[in-house]
């Protein structure tokens, strides 16, 4: 019965979303505050209903209720509890339910923390959110219902795809969806503003925390996905320019552009139209990504199951929302007032350059991703656009962007001093070049571009630090004064610096791994020794082992350096019994920021086994940099100045709520206030 209640709650959530999508809009048109006020209640109810329904599905997974078809298809009673839970979204139906859950979660957040928003804007935003929720709830219920039942119930499940039986599944999809779907709030704000016909600096201020939050989650989600693919797929690569990866990368690029252009709009009320367009584009790319991954147009580990009706349904959602938003934009754009004026050399100018490059890069990735699909549809030819294309186009585009990044924070608003900024960055650039030169000498004859790339990375990091140093006046004033000034800097300044430093770290990681990694493929028998970089690996033999729902052959390797044993690695091949599906579990050992990666290949007839060994120098920088970027997002999000006061009435209410906290309210409350 509980299962059916969960199903009914989902249907009821759809009905609530319909109400939430219709009445508040009417309320705004007619100036009826009670109808507008309904939106917040509906958003909360909708979230509770979907959350209940999601909890019920999780319950079915945990108790191995195979009368639920979805559970039978993707679970197994012997699976460890954590994978029973993560299995809820490790399949098409469940992951769409998670998508919906996060969407209504964001609506609920807007409803809860949107007290400083004008009622009309809030009602419209929640209504647009509800339209999206309606579309996806219908999609889930009509084409991918996770609550379909089986009578009689089978006795055992078919198990989850073994590649997905990993802790990565617990982290990657929820984070990625928080990012993807988080941009729906920006989209709803944009559409709501277009409906009202008013877009100004205040709008950018209100949207900013949502953009930042979504961007932060997406950064983490992509980095996590990349690391997961790296250690689970056993190919030793960390980014494949796979269409599915691109699908998540495009919203990130567009979102990064949005983050920066919203800044210009907020401070200077310039780039208004452009920012709104970016907000729409970012979420459109999220939707496009969902379509590409879910429709089965692309086959990959993410596609789970393919069904043409689903593809058509998502395509319809795509057309309605993207088409509708762009039509509205085209209709309204001419009525929008252009904003402030600025000189080409100014912080605004630098951010415009950032936007130009980022959107071009997005377009490049989009082309590379869609071109093979379009070509196949038109001519039937199958081609694949791979790393060479992206490295040539995307890589080249990134070079000028990285060179410009440190300039942005150093330039003043409205009219900047380029020569001055260049002078101030001279130290950073010189040190970057020095790093490049040292690196060149160290590997004399090595890849020519690598030192240059490394130098760029160092320059990025130092450039970001330069900004902080200059602002604190370190070296010019007494240390105590400099420290006070530094701690007095707004958190968003630290956020900016951290994000840019993170980019530099990632760049260093990418360049080092690309240029200096070594790959060794050898056939080894027990006792064989292989030298990899400064380490040597001895293969000690294979051992059979049995897990809860798999059997494995694990190979043991001893790592020694200079004849001294320093560590060991287990690398294994597993066979999952329910699906008769093999997986490789690469053995990875971390030394500082570098890793030794061992993956087992085929058994040879003579008792040996093919072993692939990679030495990946500084590879952890790639994801470490992403973490630093994410930290930048969080720090920026916690900036108390993001908080915008609510007008008199709401302020009174707030004061009552937080009586006694007023003078020294914890930061978190400020953040919460700032979100809405």
């Amino acid at each position: 019965m509980i299962i059916e209640l969960g199903h009914y709650a989902l249907v009821l959530a759809l009905a609530t979303a319909i109400i939430q999508g219709v009445l508040p809009v009417l309320g705004v048109r007619r100036g009826d505050p009670s109808l507008m006020g309904l939106a917040a209640n509906a958003a909360l109810v909708c979230f509770l209903l979907v959350a209940f329904s999601f909890a019920v599905l999780t319950f079915a997974y945990v108790t191995s209720d195979f009368s639920v078809k979805n559970v039978w298809e993707n679970s197994h009673s012997l699976k460890p509890l954590i994978y029973k839970i993560t299995g809820v979204w490790g399949n098409h139906e469940g992951s769409m339910l998670l998508w919906l859950l996060i969407l209504v979660f964001f609506s609920a957040m807007v409803a809860l923390f949107g007290r400083n928003l004008p009622e009309t804007l809030k009602a419209n935003v929640l209504a647009v959110q509800a339209w999206i929720a309606t579309a996806f709830a219908l999609f889930v219920l009509l084409t991918s219902n996770p609550f379909a039942r089986l009578v009689p119930a089978p006795g055992e499940g078919r198990d989850l795809n073994p590649v997905l039986q990993d802790i990565g599944l617990a982290i990657h999809p929820p984070l990625l969806y928080l990012g993807y779907v988080g941009f729906s709030v920006c989209f709803s704000f944009a559409v709501a503003a277009l409906i009202e016909g008013r877009i100004d600096a205040a709008w950018a201020r209100w949207v900013r925390p949502w953009t930042l939050a979504a961007w932060t989650f997406l950064t983490a989600g992509i980095a996590m996905g990349s690391y997961w693919a790296y250690y689970e797929l056993g190919w030793g690569g960390w980014w494949f320019w796979d269409p599915v990866e691109n699908a998540s990368f495009m919203p990130w690029l567009a979102g990064t552009a949005l983050l920066h252009s919203a800044l210009v709009m907020e401070k200077r009320e310039a780039l208004k139209i452009w920012t709104v367009l970016l907000a729409i584009m970012t979420f459109s790319l999220s939707l496009l990504g969902t379509f590409l991954v879910r429709s089965g147009v692309l086959t990959s580990v993410h596609a789970f199951a393919t069904d043409p009706t689903r593809g058509v349904f998502i395509l319809a959602i795509l057309v309605v929302f993207i088409g509708g938003a762009f039509s509205l934009f085209a209709f309204r754009a001419s009525h929008l007032k252009a904003g402030g004026i600025f000189a080409p050399v100014s912080r605004e100018g630098a951010l415009v350059v950032n936007n130009l490059i980022l959107t071009t890069a997005t377009a490049t990735v989009l082309t590379g991703t869609l071109y093979p699909l379009v070509l196949e549809a038109l001519t039937g030819d199958k081609i694949s656009v791979g790393a060479p294309f992206f490295n040539m186009t995307f890589g080249l585009l990134m070079l000028p962007l990285i060179a410009v990044v440190p300039f942005g924070p150093l330039l003043a608003w409205k009219r900047g001093d380029l020569a001055g900024a260049a002078q101030r960055l001279f130290a950073a650039a010189a040190l970057g070049l020095l790093a490049a030169a040292i690196c060149y000498y160290a590997v004399n004859g090595g890849p020519v571009l690598a030192p240059f790339g490394l130098g760029l990375g160092v320059y990025l990091i130092l450039g970001a630090l330069t900004d902080l140093v200059l602002r604190s006046g370190l070296g010019k004033v007494a240390a105590g004064v400099a420290w006070r000034r530094l701690s007095g800097l707004p958190r968003s300044a630290f956020g900016t610096a951290l994000a840019h430093i993170g980019l530099g770290i990632t760049l260093i990681g990418i360049v080092t791994v690309t240029a200096f990694e070594t790959e060794t493929v050898v056939e080894m028998k027990a006792g064989a020794v292989v030298d990899v970089g400064r380490y040597s690996l001895r293969f000690d033999g294979m051992r059979e082992a049995r897990g809860p729902n798999y059997t494995e052959d694990a190979g043991h390797f001893t790592i020694s350096r200079g004849g001294v044993e320093v560590s060991e690695i287990w690398s294994s091949k597993r066979l999952y019994s329910a699906r008769r599906m093999p997986t490789t579990e690469a053995g990875i050992r971390t030394f500082g920021l570098s890793q030794l990666y061992v993956s087992l290949g085929d058994d040879m007839a003579d008792g040996g086994i093919v072993v692939r060994i990679w030495w990946k120098p500084l590879i952890l920088c790639i994801w470490g940099g992403a973490l630093v970027m994410m930290a930048g997002g969080v720090v920026s999000l916690s900036d108390r100045r993001l908080r915008v006061g609510a007008p008199a009435r709401a302020r009174k209410a707030l004061a009552q709520d937080h009586d006694g906290f007023r003078s020294d309210r914890p930061k978190i409350i400020n953040v919460i206030d700032s979100k809405g």
């Binding site: 209640l5 009914y8 209720d65 219920l141 379909a148 055992e156 009219r415 100045r641 915008v644 006061g645």
Partner: protein, 381 residues
Amino acid sequence: MLFWILVAILTAAVAAVLLLPLMRAAEPLPSRHSHDIEVYRDQLGELARDRETGLIGSEEAELARAEIARRMLAASAADQAVAESTPKRLLSNRLAQAFIFLCLPAVGLCLYLTTGSPGVPAQPLAARLADPGDDVNILIAKAENHLALNPQDGAGWDLLAPIYMRHGRLDDAVAAYDRAIRLLGPTPARMGGYAEALVAQAGGLVTAEAQNALQKALALDPDDPRSAFYLALGLKQEGKHADALAAFRKLAARSPADAPWLSLVNQHIAELAAAPAGPGPAAPGNPAPGDITAAKEMNAGDRQAMIRGMVDSLASRLKEDPANLEGWMRLVRSYVVLDQRDRAKDALDDGLRAFPATGAQGKQLLALARELGIDAGGEAE
């Protein structure tokens, strides 16, 4: 019933929460402009801070301040204008309430009744295992769990095999019979069941492996009707119509008059008696004319299974009598057609053992292999 009560309560609760704001007397809203003014005030403060830290030049700061102040003034003016027009008190409220009252149950029930299964209870595995009742799937799962821990329990496999067979899990049935026979030794019932599972697995064809098992079953119990029937069917499928007819007739004569299989046996006898008792096929493994007509009427899957069965019987025949060049060439080609390249390669190697690659006939085989794009292993090189 309890379910529907809960559904009603849930719906009512949602409706109540949604109706709540409509019931309350609406407070007049602060105008949109008052929100804007808050933002502009905030911006002015930020501008002052930026000015202090030198993030914006003093001249530019002055200009920006003027910009913001202008916006602020405009907003205040608009605010006044709005404040004077009082909000209309509305009767659309009633309609909205009606909409909520209708929409929730209408959408909720209509959609749920089409997509849901209201009567089906939750069935957590633990509860089902604790009290299986007559839940066959659970009984099977329990037996499987038991056998996974005690794979040497022959009686368990023996019990499970026919259940698999009844549930159409043919691969599992074959494996279970195989295990039971290995652990407990052959009996006519086990061998016959094994053969039957093999035949079902091959889509109705009595393969060489099945024939082998049937013969063993008959050796244990010459009167086993099931084994006799499948062996006769195998003869018929091979095109040995006269032998098949004799075997079916023998089975019919031995069976009691009320045996349930008798009608099927008689049907086969009638078919075979009607068919022209022509000479046997020229080359071993050639399909009989009847089989070819049958193949034409079959669907693709059955036809594939039939072809496979014929190829299998050809292979087993060639194993007994390898001196048949034409047979080997047909076998290799058939495997390639069936896309079983590994088997084609094995067959090629076996053929080359009978006709060494140095001889003219061996070269013929090699030429065929080249034409089909398979390379001979070991001996040929």
